[in-house]
Symmetry: C2
Subunit: 453 residues, 2 copies
C-alpha cells in the first residue's frame, strides 16, 4: 500500500519539556529530567519506533533571558546527539550549530564524527547567531549585521564542504603487509584563504558515511531563502496558512534551478504544534489548559524581543501598538513578518497573540482529533504546501507518544508515511543523494593534482 505514492517526511523537533512555553508546568512533563540523558534517550526511542525520518534540536549560545519562567536550558547538541546515536539505529539526528561564533574546522570535524558514530544519520541545522547576548559570550561587542552573517555562513559552508571532501572515500588503504595505512594522494589540503577564514586542511577524520551531514536551514528571510536554495537539503519553516505555505514552497523551489539543483533536492518541512484530543472539544480544552498555565511576563518578554518593541507598557487586552518596519529588524526577519500578519489576520489582542504563540513561537498550532490533524497535514502535503512536517509536540514525552499512537497510524493507513524504515541513513530516509567529492571528481578529470604533502 502506498508504495508508489509520494511519501511524507516527518521530523520531530525536541525541546526539553515540549514546545508549549508552559509545558514544564503541565502534569504530563518532567522538567526535573532536562539534564538527564535517559529522558532524551526515551524520547528518541519513541520517535524511532514511530518511524520518524529524524529528530532535531534547536540551540543558542547564550542562556535564555526567560529562564525565570521557562525550561529553556540544558544539554549541548553534539554531546546529546552522540549519546542518542548509541541507543538508536535508524532515526536521523539533526543538531543546530551556528556559523557565527564557531570555527569551520571544529564544526566539520564534529559533524563528520557524529556521522561516523551514527553510521550515516547526522544532519546540521545551519544557523547564524543574531543576538547580542550571544556576541557577548564570544569576545564580540555586538552581533553581526544580518547580511554579513549570511556572507559568513556561505563561506563557512564552502570551507566545511571542502573539508569533508578533503578525504576521498578510498583514502584508507590499511595494507598491513606493505605498511601503507592511508593513500596520501587521496587526502588533500583545501587551502581556503580569505579575510574571514584561512583553513589549510585536510580534516583529521576520514570522509563519513553520508559524505556530508544532511544540510538543513531554518531562516526564511530573503537572505535565508537564497542561502537555502544554494545549500540546504531540508528547510524547517513556519507558516500559519496553506496560502502562505504554498507561496513559500513555490518561491524556494523555484530558486533551486539557479544553483543547478532540482526541486527534489530540498525538502520543505513547515512546523506544526499538534494538540491532540479524542474529540475536537477535548483538544481545545487541552490547548486552553496549557494557555492558562502561561506566565504573561514570559510571553511579553519573548514577543517584545521578536517585535523589537517594549510591550510591557500596553494593556494585555488591547491591540498591538505601532511596530517598527521590517528593515529595522536585525534578528529573525521572517518570524517578525509572520507574527505581524497573524495578529492582523485574526484581529488579536496582545493576550490573544501571546496565546496563539505559546505553543509554537510562530509555528502553526492546531488542536483537533487525529483525523483532523491528518487531514491538515495531507492537505498541505498534497496541495503544494510542503514535503512533510516538523512536528513540535506541545509537551514531552506524552505529546509525542500521542502523535505516534494516533496520528502516525492514520497517515500510514492513507499510504502517506512509511511503516518500516527502508534504509539506515538520514539521506536514505529523505531520498537525498550522497554528495559527490569535489576533489575526487576534479582529480579524475585531471583538474587538480595537489595532494596532501
Amino acid at each position: 500500500m502506498g508504495k508508489s505514492k509520494r511519501q511524507l517526511h516527518l521530523n520531530v523537533f525536541i525541546m526539553n519539556t515540549g514546545h508549549h512555553e508552559a509545558s514544564w508546568r503541565h502534569k504530563n512533563t518532567e522538567p526535573e529530567n532536562i539534564t538527564d540523558i535517559r529522558y532524551f534517550q526515551r524520547i528518541a526511542r519513541i520517535a524511532e519506533q514511530a518511524k520518524f525520518d529524524s529528530l532535531f534540536l534547536a540551540d543558542g549560545l547564550a542562556v535564555s533571558q526567560n529562564i525565570k519562567h521557562g525550561a529553556f536550558v540544558g544539554l549541548e547538541p553534539f554531546t546529546l546527539l552522540s549519546a542518542l546515536a548509541s541507543v538508536t539505529e535508524h532515526i536521523g539526528l539533526i543538531g543546530t550549530v551556528s556559523t557565527t561564533y564557531n570555527e569551520p574546522f571544529h564544526v566539520a570535524r564534529k559533524f563528520a564524527s557524529l556521522d561516523h558514530i551514527s553510521k550515516g544519520r547526522a544532519g546540521w541545522n545551519i544557523v547564524t547567531s543574531g543576538s547580542s547576548f550571544e556576541a557577548h559570550n564570544f569576545s564580540k561587542e555586538a552581533h553581526l549585521e544580518h547580511s554579513k552573517r549570511y556572507e559568513r555562513a556561505k563561506e563557512f559552508l564552502d570551507v566545511t564542504t571542502s573539508l569533508w571532501d578533503s578525504w576521498e572515500d578510498e583514502a584508507l588503504v590499511i595494507d598491513r603487509t606493505s605498511g601503507i595505512f592511508a593513500d596520501r594522494s587521496k587526502v588533500r589540503e583545501i587551502n581556503h584563504i580569505s579575510d574571514t577564514f584561512k583553513v589549510r586542511g585536510p580534516l583529521n577524520i576520514p570522509r563519513s558515511p553520508q559524505g556530508y551531514p544532511v544540510l538543513v536551514q531554518a531562516g526564511s528571510s530573503e537572505d535565508g531563502k537564497e542561502f537555502a536554495a544554494q545549500y540546504a537539503e531540508a528547510i524547517f519553516t513556519a507558516q500559519q496558512t496553506l496560502a502562505e505555505a504554498q507561496q513559500f514552497y513555490a518561491d524556494v523551489k523555484k530558486r533551486l534551478a539557479a544553483y543547478g539543483r532540482s526541486p527534489e533536492q530540498l525538502k520543505i518541512l513547515p512546523g506544526i504544534c499538534p494538540i491532540i484530543g479524542k474529540t475536537e472539544s477535548e483538544a481545545k480544552e487541552k490547548e486552553q489548559e496549557l494557555n492558562e498555565l502561561t506566565v504573561p511576563e514570559y510571553g511579553l518578554n519573548q514577543l517584545s524581543n521578536m517585535l523589537n518593541v517594549d510591550l510591557f507598557s500596553y494593556p494585555l487586552d488591547g491591540p498591538l501598538p505601532e511596530l517598527p518596519s521590517l528593515s529595522d529588524i536585525n534578528g529573525n526577519k521572517s518570524r517578525f513578518q509572520l507574527v505581524v500578519d497573524l495578529a492582523k489576520r485574526e484581529n488579536l489582542t496582545i493576550r490573544g497573540l501571546l496565546h496563539r504563540l505559546a505553543g509554537g513561537r510562530g509555528h502553526r498550532t492546531f488542536a483537533g482529533t487525529p483525523i483532523q490533524i491528518a487531514d491538515q497535514l495531507e492537505e498541505w502535503f498534497l496541495h503544494g504546501g510542503s514535503d512533510g512536517f516538523n512536528v513540535m509536540p506541545p509537551y514531552l514525552p506524552a505529546g509525542l507518544e500521542e502523535f505516534a499512537q494516533f496520528v502516525i497510524p492514520e497517515l500510514q493507513r492513507r499510504g502517506l508515511f512509511r511503516t518500516e524504515y527502508s534504509g539506515s541513513t538520514l539521506r536514505g530516509h529523505l531520498g537525498l543523494p550522497r554528495p559527490v567529492n569535489q576533489y575526487a571528481t576534479a582529480a579524475a578529470s585531471g583538474a587538480v593534482s595537489g595532494a596532501f604533502q
Copy 2:
C-alpha cells in the same frame, strides 16, 4: 583486604589500534574499525569491568603528518566520549581539548554537558596547541610561542571555571505552582574582560554533577608544571626511570602549597606501555615482533619533529647528530629532554632509539610477566614515584584485555587496587573534592550581589 591501604589510580589511555606505532599492522588489532563506535564501546566496557578509574583520549587539531604509515586519525573526543557514556556507568571519561584554538564558552558548555550525560564522569585533559599544522586550520599564520600559550591557557581556565560556577547548584527551582523555573539570583554573569577574552556569561547549562570536570594536564615543562600546580587534579606524565619519576613527583607536589593546595589534590600518573607475556622471554619476543613491524620512515618523521632536526640524512645504525638546545624547542619541551636523556643513558643508535620510542612515544615501555609488571608499578607507587599509572596498551583491544586479565588481579591480590567501584563519579574514584562555587561562597559572605539581570 587493602581497605586501609593507599590505592593505585589507573587510567587507560586509548589510542585507536594501540600505542605501539606499528600496532595497526599487528594480527590482534582492528584498524578497519577505528571510525566504528562499537569498537570503542567494547574497549570501554573491558576497562570498566577491570575497574579502571578512567579512560582517556589524546587529541590534535590537524591530521597527523604520518598517516601514510600510522593509524592516527579518527573520531572527535566530545562525540566519542558521549557515545561511550551511554554504554558505561562507572568509568571516568577524559577528553583532550586545546585552549589555543577554542572558545572558553564552547568548551565549558560541552564539558558540563558531558558531565551531565555521564552523571559525573567527565575529565578534561587541558592542552595547548603547539604545531603550525594546527595554526593553519584556524586562520593563524603561526602557532603561539610556548609561554604565551600557557598565559592563554590560564586565562581560559579562569573563564571556564567561572562559567561552571555561573549557576549555583540550587538555581533550578522548578516550582510548577508559582511558575518559577529558575532562581535568577543564583544564575550570574561572570563579566570576564581582558584583551584575550571578553565573556559575559552565564553559561547556558546548569552546574553539572561534579561542578567542574576533573582537570587533567600533561605538559611537564616548567610552564606545564606550574600550570598543573595551580589547576590540575591529575597529571599524565612520562618518565623512564624511578629516579626521574621521584624527582618529578616531589617537584610538582611541592609546588601545590603556593596555591593553597594539598598534595592529595593532584594525582600524578606516569605513562606505561606494558607488553605482557606468560614468561619474560615471551614478552620480549612480543616487543621484538612489534618493533619489526615499524616503518623507519614513520619513526624518523616523528623523532625529527620531536628533536627539531632532520634525521633522514644520518645512518640509522649510527648515533644521534648534534641537537638543538632546549630553549630552541617551541613544541613539547619536556619530551625533548626525556628523549635526549634516554638516548644518552642507554647509548642508543638512531634505530635503537626508534625502537625504544615505538611503544609509547617517550612513555616508558616495559616488557615482562604480569608479576614483573605489577612489581614495577608497586615499586614506583610505594617509593614516591606516582599515585597510579596511565596504562597505554601497545595494541588494542587485546593488550587491554591481557592487562585486565593478568595484571589487575595481581594488583588486587596485593591490596593495591579496587575490586569494586565504591562511587560513580570520576572525582569519587580519584578521591578529589567537588569544587566549591566561587560565587555562591562570595554571595553567602556578602561579597557579590550582581545576579544575572
